[in-house]
């Protein structure tokens, strides 16, 4: 099967760089699967997991918190404010973030803070899910 180079880049440096045969990402308008040779495309990503199927059948999973995916026939780039490979996720920290966000959500219904806590909760839950592999 043909492979394509995938880069996942964050402001704090590159996170992932490898040849894969298929990328499955969650965009704001639904899940997409991208194979090598896809026409150029750009789509914003939702908070979620990116699954990278490798040629040998194994799958790498990366948690991303938003950003977007840029597809070119020979190269796929994902740019996100933050991204972690499943093995490198600090679950302890994510669990604390969940608790903090849940506390805030129960507290007040102030519009902006509410939204922010909601996003923080989603990001933390996403990290935990990706780490535990239930996606």
């Amino acid at each position: 099967m043909k492979t394509v180079l995938v880069n996942i880049v964050t402001p704090d440096g590159p996170v992932y760089d490898s040849e894969v045969s298929m990328v499955i990402a969650k965009t704001t308008s639904g899940e997409i699967g991208v194979l090598a040779g896809h026409i150029p495309m750009v789509a914003p990503l939702a908070i979620g997991a990116v699954k990278l199927k490798k040629e040998d059948g194994s799958t790498d999973i990366v948690a991303v918190s938003g950003g977007f995916i840029e597809v070119r026939p020979e190269k796929i780039s994902i740019l996100a404010p933050s991204a972690e490979i499943a093995e490198n996720i600090d679950v302890q920290r994510a669990k604390e973030a969940v608790k903090r966000a849940e506390g805030r959500l129960q507290g007040k219904q102030d519009n902006i803070d509410f939204k922010r806590a909601d996003l923080a909760l989603k990001r933390a839950l996403n990290r935990i899910n990706v780490h535990e592999g239930n996606i």
Partner: protein, 285 residues
């Protein structure tokens, strides 16, 4: 003998000062190395996002997105990036002088502009002079991560969108080399001078160009702020290193001058003692 002891005391205190400045110089140089690495790690992200934003913005002409549209300027904002601590030579003062001069040139009253301050020195300077500081960040770590500045970047972009101000300039020290940096002014918003894409690829947009700009432009502006901050941090460490190096050199000069004085005084004292003894012996004969 008071004179001798006095000089000895000054030599000792200069020596301990020198030790401190020397240590600070070494700390700064290792921090500078880290800051340079951070700045380097950030380059691929910046290049990529610039590429994509350029491609999309040139592909969807007249998108009417608020961040791309220049409007009549009623209020200007200045985002000034400085440091929390001093002892960094002219790092803060050069940037503050430049901003102050620009403000004096462009504006007549204090209602025409607002300040967003990064760094304690910057904030204190503008607050003391009664400028309108709408947002500030202090206590940033020496190696900031994207999460640390997300707040101010989002604020800066948000206030532009909701019309608090109509243009946003960014001031920071650009890192040229370990011994040189220059104050840089950058117009952040509106994003009028987007470089057209080098790749010239025509993209499919999922769901639409406008929807992507909606996500992409704030992220782009935030990343510009982050880039400037990394650049500023690198030059902060560099100028602190240079300042401390100068201080160490000065201390060395001072010590050698004082040692010379000390030896002279010591010799004079000995000569005097001998003269006294010889004089005393002569008087006895």
């Amino acid at each position: 003998m008071v004179n001798l002891r006095e000089i000895k005391g000054r030599i000792n205190s200069t020596k301990s000062t020198k030790q401190i400045t020397k240590a600070m110089q070494m700390v700064s140089s290792s921090k500078l190395r880290r800051a340079e690495q951070n700045a380097k790690a950030y380059v691929p992200y910046m290049e990529k996002i610039q590429d994509v934003v350029g491609a999309i913005a040139s592909g969807t002409k007249d998108s009417g997105h608020p961040m791309l549209t220049a409007r009549p300027v009623k209020k200007t904002a200045y985002l000034v990036i400085g440091s929390d601590r001093g002892l960094a030579g002219a790092y803060n003062s050069s940037i503050l002088r430049q901003v102050q001069r620009t403000i004096d040139e462009r504006h007549k009253s204090k209602d025409e502009y607002v300040i967003l301050a990064v760094g304690r020195v910057v904030r204190d300077y503008f607050v003391k002079r009664d400028h309108n500081v709408v947002s500030d960040v202090v206590g940033l770590p020496d190696q900031p991560t994207f999460a640390d500045i997300k707040e101010i970047a989002r604020n800066a972009v948000g206030m532009f969108i909701d019309g608090t101000y109509d243009e946003l300039y960014m001031y920071y020290n650009h890192f040229v080399s370990a011994i040189a940096n220059e104050v840089t002014e950058k117009k952040l918003l509106p994003l009028t001078d987007l470089a057209p894409a080098s790749s010239n690829a025509s993209y499919e947009f999922e769901p639409s160009g406008e929807a992507i700009l909606e996500v992409l432009l704030p992220q782009y502006a935030e990343s510009l702020v982050y880039g400037a901050l990394l650049d500023g941090k690198a030059s902060e460490h560099a100028s602190r290193m240079t300042a401390m190096k100068n201080a160490t050199d000065n201390a060395s000069d001072l010590i050698s001058d004082l040692s010379l004085q000390y030896n002279r005084a010591r010799q004079a004292a000995i000569t005097q003692e001998i003269t006294e003894i010889v004089g005393g012996a002569a008087a006895l004969e």
